[in-house]
């Protein structure tokens, strides 16, 4: 009989450590049963000949195979050097204490395993168990970094460190969305999500291994040209000009987006992806702020119009560069506070983690747009006709905003006022499930990674969405409200992958679009379901 995969197996060479068959995945309900019989498309051999694929037949990183045994050894030494730095306060000023506590105190009670959607949806594959990844790192740490570790490890669980183990561990750190549902469930506060993050950090900062979508085309492009989308200031202004014209048709009045206004109350920074992929979101913010008489501005300085900070997911150095840039732009513009648009990871990056970085006059006040919007909606300054949102609505809770920051109520107070057919998902709030696109996954689509995401990491969210609408007829259009660009990207891909627009009439969008759609003096609906307007003018 085959015994269960153990952490030590990570260093035993084989073609793959784990594999998902179609029948392993948690079954989807009607009318999606046809997907239950189809497997994740395999990697194309001619495209992966020179890269590491020995984890699970999926690739996030495309790590080149070392050319020689000497190169392998050099990579192992590099890994150990990086590992050492993770445990030094000079080199890990951000997360050393929670990392140490998580290394020392796991009781292996497995409460986290039941909390993890990737583990559950994959059919409980050992490699995705939250403590599997953590235990690999823990054993390497104990054996190679602790005095006497090589002898003690024979008792506490041995593991051999070789290139195979390292390459697999790197990939494995990108099979967790860092949603930290496991950490919230742990009775003693061990954070296996943080451990995945620290592994990513070691690989990026010490070995130059990171997904190209979030490093080369992400952080680096953000710092170089001003946005991870590649959009330079004139492109941002051109897009916004077009959005203003579109909003004029919706509102019937002239909508103005103020740029670079010194001393404004609010500097609103969007995820720049919104301007290209979800322009109504950017427009709806402008409509609400203008109608409520808010003193606000956007910044046209490079990086000042893109609030993303992908470094949060994998690299403290990139994280710090972007966070300081955001704070510095704000300081020079002399605004009272930053308001972060509907972008989940930017919330955590700029408000929570940057708190350890921004001191003195860089420590400008930072606020979630959900809070700003709740103040506006509840102030009575806007007049609503909630009957305009006469369609079923459910709410997705972005992990970084809700579980990590505890912002639970503002978005619900807004929905109570404007969405009469709102219903919660089960579970929701701080117990929500990740969209499956967290920590950069929504941007990553090389090889068959998007298929893995749609089939495995986003699967729980898809089932939750379907369950929230299970009593609604298939032909009724349904709105998934997801106030986060990354989550929207993942949900859009889910809807496309499972043909859920055709089969269940699922649509998605942000929170501000729902607010504007219910404003009584709008001339036209901002929300459309395909060709169909959400209300008749």
């Amino acid at each position: 009989m085959r015994t269960r995969l153990a952490p030590a197996d990570i260093s035993r060479p084989s073609d793959r450590l784990s594999h998902i068959e179609a029948g392993d995945l948690a079954p989807l309900p009607s009318p999606y049963e046809d997907f239950n019989a189809t497997a994740i498309p395999p990697l194309k051999p001619e495209k992966v000949r020179h890269i590491e694929t020995s984890l699970d037949d999926t690739v996030a990183l495309a790590i080149p195979r070392p050319a020689s045994p000497e190169e392998e050894e050099a990579r192992v030494r590099q890994f150990l050097s990086g590992l050492k730095k993770l445990f030094e306060k000079e080199n890990n000023w951000t997360f050393l204490q929670p990392l140490l506590l998580s290394m020392e105190h796991c009781a292996k009670c497995q409460t986290c395993a039941d909390a993890c959607p990737v583990f559950e949806m994959s059919g409980r594959k050992e490699i995705y168990r939250p403590i599997f990844r953590a235990e690999v790192l823990r054993r390497i740490y104990r054996k190679y970094l602790r005095p006497g570790g090589k002898i003690a490890s024979r008792l506490t669980g041995d593991i051999d460190l070789n290139w195979t183990a390292i390459a697999r561990l790197a990939e494995l750190s990108y099979r967790c969305t860092l949603c930290r549902r496991c950490a919230a469930a742990c009775p003693i506060g061990v954070d296996n999500g943080l451990i995945a993050h620290e592994i990513r950090k070691l690989f990026s900062q010490e070995m130059g291994i990171a997904p190209k979508e979030i490093h080369d085309k992400g952080s680096i492009q953000h710092l170089k040209v001003g946005s991870s989308t590649g959009m330079k200031p004139p492109g941002a202004k051109d897009s916004v000009e077009f959005i203003q014209e579109e909003m004029r048709e919706i509102t019937g009045w002239k909508v103005d987006v103020p740029w670079d206004v010194e001393g404004a109350e609010i500097l609103l920074i969007h995820n720049a992806g919104e301007m290209l992929a979800w322009p109504d979101n950017v427009g709806a913010f402008a409509v609400i702020f203008q109608a409520a008489g808010v003193s606000w501005t956007m910044s046209s300085e490079a990086a000042g119009y893109d609030v993303v900070n992908y470094g949060l997911w994998y690299d403290d150095v990139q994280f710090s560069r972007v966070a300081v840039r955001h704070a510095d732009i704000t300081r020079r513009l002399k605004v009272k506070k930053i308001v972060i648009g509907e972008c989940g990871h930017a919330h955590k990056a700029l408000t929570v983690v940057a708190d350890r970085l921004l001191t003195g006059d860089l420590n400008v006040p930072r606020e979630s747009a959900l809070v700003t919007l709740a103040d506006i909606v509840l102030s009575g300054k806007l007049r609503f006709d909630p009957r305009r949102n006469d369609f079923p609505v459910t709410l997705h809770d972005p992990c970084n905003v809700v579980r990590s920051m505890g912002i639970v109520a503002p978005q619900r107070r807004i929905l109570e006022k404007i969405a009469p057919r709102f219903r919660e998902m089960t579970p929701h709030g701080v117990e929500n499930y990740c969209c499956g696109g967290g920590s950069g996954f929504a941007l990553m689509s090389g090889h068959n990674f998007a298929d893995w995401r749609n089939r495995v990491s986003s699967r729980k969210k898809f089932m939750q969405i379907l369950a929230a609408f299970e009593n609604e007829p298939a032909e009724v259009p349904k709105y998934v409200c997801a106030p986060c660009s990354n989550c929207k990207g993942a949900i859009r891909d889910l809807i496309g992958h499972y043909h859920a627009e055709e089969r269940s009439r699922l649509y998605y969008g942000g929170l501000v679009e729902l607010i504007v759609n219910a404003m009584a003096d709008m001339k036209k609906p901002i929300i459309r379901f395909g060709d169909e307007p959400s209300w008749k003018a």
Binding site: S228, G230, M231, P279
Partner: protein, 106 residues
């Protein structure tokens, strides 16, 4: 880096087939790629309207324009654009126009 052979020439592309060396683009590239992408016959005036707009916007701003802007500027509705480019405005039209693959949260 993968390459693609079109009309007797070799081009470097990324794994999704987006051209890597943007200055290597030429009209034969678009014609030959259209054929490989399942578009029948030579490219029509409407195809060129979309491709030329995408290229001129990209040259000015360094990014692809938002889809709605393509609709407004070319006067072709989204349905028509999908008929012209069955792989869609991003994976179809942008690829033929030799633009880089979109990046960031889009």
């Amino acid at each position: 880096m993968p390459t693609i052979e079109l009309a007797g020439k070799s081009y470097e592309v990324d794994e999704d087939g987006f051209l890597q060396e943007l200055d290597k683009w030429n009209e034969e590239f678009a014609e030959a790629y259209a054929h490989a992408d399942g578009i029948e016959g030579p490219l029509t005036e409407e195809h060129w309207k979309v491709i030329n707009y995408l290229r001129s916007y990209y040259q000015e701003f360094g990014i692809a324009p938002m889809v709605r802007k393509v609709v407004r500027e070319t006067g072709l509705d989204l349905k028509r654009i999908y008929e012209l480019f069955p792989s869609g405005p991003g994976n179809g039209a942008c690829k033929l126009a030799g633009l880089a693959k979109p990046t960031g949260c889009v």
